[in-house]
Amino acid sequence: MRSWGWADVVLLLLKLRALVVLVALLVLFTALTPTFLTTNNLSILAKHVSINALLAVGMTFVVITAGIDLSVGSIAGLAGMVAGGLLTVGIGGHVAPAWLAVIVALLVSASVGWLNGIMVTRLGVAPFIATLGTLYIARGAALLLSNGRTFPDLAGTAARGNTGFTAIGQSFILRVPTPVWMMVVIAAATAFVAIRTPFGRHVYAVGGNERAARLAGIRVERVIVWTYVFSALCAGLVGMIIASQLEAAHPATGESFELNAIAAVVLGGTSLMGGRGTVGGSLIGACVIGVLADGLVMMGVSEFWQMVIKGLVIVGAVTVDQMQMKVQARMMPALLRSRSKITKVPM
């Protein structure tokens, strides 16, 4: 084992700064508001966080490939409407069972993601524009499905055979809300894919240097399309969680969710320039945003000030991010000299 130098400690703290901020916020709010650290509040907090975290985790790969997905909020709305419509109105008088509604809604979401990917790769549309387009398209489609109205009564009745949908957002496993489990499992699986599979590595390669990735034989287009499909699937799931919790599908669900998700991804240290970032970071980023919002509400800070503070935190985080890169670049030669046993070639 090697001994730890001061340089390693500084780098590690900088790397884990999102986590440091999160812990600091938790300590602060616990100290300032007695009701913050209660099971009830934490349960509500976790439910809120899970929505944004699922979107952020899903979008992380897209952002690592130097893309962006503005359509996630609209996809969430569309997925909820598709599921709600199939459950309550159905096709030709036949309503779908919950499992079928979920699968169809996920397929619809995935196809919007696929469209994003195809536009970005085959048609050469910039990710910002392509997903801005699908933001409107998916939202419009959601409104068209019900002519702008809400699909109510998603709880269903045993007689119509359409019950069970509410379990997605309302049930508990081991006294923890199911959406929170979904967030944990999906985030863990995504982090695992990022680190341990060829696909994950290809995502980083594409974001780092697309040309070099192509020359290395990586199927760049395929990788990018899959990142958008995955992001859309996560968004679809979020849409159904919300519809399930409300027992109603509303076409405006998920409006401006994409901005919170992007904020979480960026807070977590993922670079919008691509090539750099972690799934765990996005998860922590979503937690920071959630805890901040929840804590400020409990402290009675006005909604307007909340927005100002959120904005400052995001900008501050990215500023620190830039500082980290500089510090790292400056310390690298020293680290290399002290730590590596490179014998022949000067680095």
């Binding site: 390669a205 020359l215 750099r276 400056r330 730590r339 046993k341």
Partner: protein
């Protein structure tokens, strides 16, 4: 050109048969039959723009021929992608290194063909082990920690080794090296040569492209010369000499000697440094350097990679403020705390890596040249386009930049002409001191000699030039006076024609200074 292959000692492993490649209306390759032989070094020679890189892109599957076929071991190949080529055992190390900076060394070695274990997971232990073995084989033994470093922390030379390790690890049968030594120091190049000879002994067919003739003569077994997209000469080792190569390449005799300026002892000094120090995280990168460059003098700094020459250039260009020491331009002390301060003092730098630091690829040739001088050509904030273009045209003529249209993107030019564009931009500011960091990296022989000639003319008009180089030949041809740098210090000084290659090399080698 499609006659059967002449009988040589080695058999053909891969060949292109009457291959033609057209881009729009331009024919990059015209009916080219190029044979690569097993267990030998197949040298491909040609000026920039002759079609070498295009031919290699076809072999590497990065592009497809307009007509003609590629045959490997007797079977016809249809290479649709770099992946296809890799599957057939064809690997390429690109001139503009295709290293993924954000991935680790190990991840780079296996990029695109990760080793997987059950359940489709990356087998990191096996990857580490194999990449470690491959790097050791290339003379760069690294420990685990170093193998997990992001490749962007490595020098250009080391990145090249990483690319080589990539081809080694995939067991390439055909290895294409496109100007592999253009970024390497002499010692790194030597270890590369050893690797190439080793690979050859193991039966790998190496395709070697370089502008450095002594390398080609040293390594080459078979020689093919391309000019304007056609093969204009083929021969084998022992039957040719430098003149054969140079004449076929250019289609005319090439001037490689430049007459040296007789340095008057009373030449007034334009740039003068005393005790310049620049530290990089505590370690002195430039250590107590004093030197002077006279009016109209060309001073060369020879040194290996990492000797501090780039840091010295950056200090003078205002990119890193010196920690100690004094810089005087025409006798006046200047504070070089920013690039604009250096430019005000009359110092301008043509950087080493023109793709990264020099050119704006989306802008036109004219825009690239005038980029740094727009303020000078503006009146009340409005750019005088006619004045600017007049000056640009003058520079284009002076530097012999060959371009059909100055409004074309700069990327349409060959490497040599791109380098001239960078020079033109520096000169447009009418500097009194021109700094050049590796002035002819990745530039072909003829463009090189043109650049040397232009620099001589400029010096004769009173421009002072300070350049760094890792090529002995270049230092010899260009410099009136040579300083050798090693470990951040000036290790030796020679006047033009008063040194041998060995003198320079010995003075530059850090090994010779250990314990000194």
């Amino acid at each position: 050109m499609t006659a059967s292959a002449p009988a040589y000692e080695h058999d053909v492993i891969i060949e292109t048969l009457g291959v033609t490649k057209q881009y729009g209306g331009i024919t990059a390759l015209n009916d080219v039959t190029f044979r690569v032989r097993r267990g030998s070094v197949n040298v491909l020679i040609g000026e920039n723009g002759a079609g070498k890189s295009t031919l290699m892109r076809l072999l590497a599957g990065a592009e497809r021929a307009t007509s003609g076929t590629i045959r490997m071991e007797g079977r016809e190949l249809d290479l649709r992608s770099p992946r296809d080529a890799a599957r057939h055992g064809i690997a390429i190390v690109h001139q503009e290194l295709a290293v993924l900076g954000n991935l680790s060394i190990t991840e780079n070695v296996f990029a695109g063909r990760e080793l997987v274990q059950r359940a489709g997971l990356v087998d990191r232990a096996r990857e580490l082990q194999q990449s470690s073995a491959a790097m050791s084989e290339l003379g760069m033994p690294l420990d685990r920690w170093a193998l997990n470093l992001p490749a962007e922390t490595l020098s250009l030379g080391c990145r090249q080794v990483v690319e080589l390790a990539r081809s080694l690890a995939c067991g390439a049968k055909v290895l294409i090296l496109d100007e592999p030594t253009s970024a390497l120091s002499a010692s790194e190049a030597e270890s590369l040569f050893r690797v190439v000879l080793d690979l050859k002994a193991r039966g790998v067919a190496v395709v070697y492209i370089s502008h450095r003739l002594h390398e080609l003569m040293l390594l080459g077994d078979y020689f093919t010369v391309l000019r304007d997209g056609r093969i204009v000469g083929e021969s084998e080792r022992g039957k040719i000499d430098r003149t054969w190569i140079v004449e076929r390449m250019s289609g005319r005799p090439v001037e490689t000697t430049a007459s040296h300026h007789q340095r008057a002892s009373s030449m007034p000094s334009v740039l003068e440094l005393t005790g310049l120090c620049s530290r990089e995280t505590g370690r002195p990168a430039v250590d107590d350097v004093s030197l002077s460059v006279g009016k109209g003098e060309i001073v060369g700094i020879y040194g290996l990679l990492g000797c501090g020459r780039t840091e010295l250039m950056e200090s003078l260009a205002g990119l890193r403020e010196p920690d100690e020491g004094e810089v005087r331009v025409r006798g006046i002390k200047v504070k070089l705390d920013s690039v604009s301060a250096a430019i005000r003092a009359g110092i301008t730098l043509a950087p080493e890596d023109r793709q990264r630091d020099g050119l704006l690829p989306d802008l036109s040739i004219a825009e690239n040249i005038s980029m740094a001088s727009l303020a000078e050509f503006s009146h009340k904030g409005i750019l005088d386009r006619r004045d600017t273009m007049a000056r640009v045209r003058q520079l284009v003529t002076q530097l012999r930049i060959v371009a059909a249209d100055l409004h074309l993107p700069v990327t349409a030019l060959s490497g040599g002409n791109q380098q001239k564009v960078v020079l033109a931009r520096c000169l447009m500011r009418r500097p009194s001191v021109l700094l050049l960091d590796e002035p002819t990296r990745g530039v072909d022989v003829r463009a090189k000699s043109e650049i040397y000639k232009t620099l001589r003319e400029l010096a004769a008009q009173g421009l002072s030039v300070l350049f760094t180089s890792s090529e002995i030949e270049e230092t010899r041809l260009l410099a009136d006076r040579v300083l050798v740098m090693a470990r951040g210090r000036i290790a030796a000084e020679f006047n033009a024609d008063c040194f041998t290659d060995e003198d320079l090399f010995a003075a530059a080698s850090p090994v010779a200074r250990v314990g000194a």
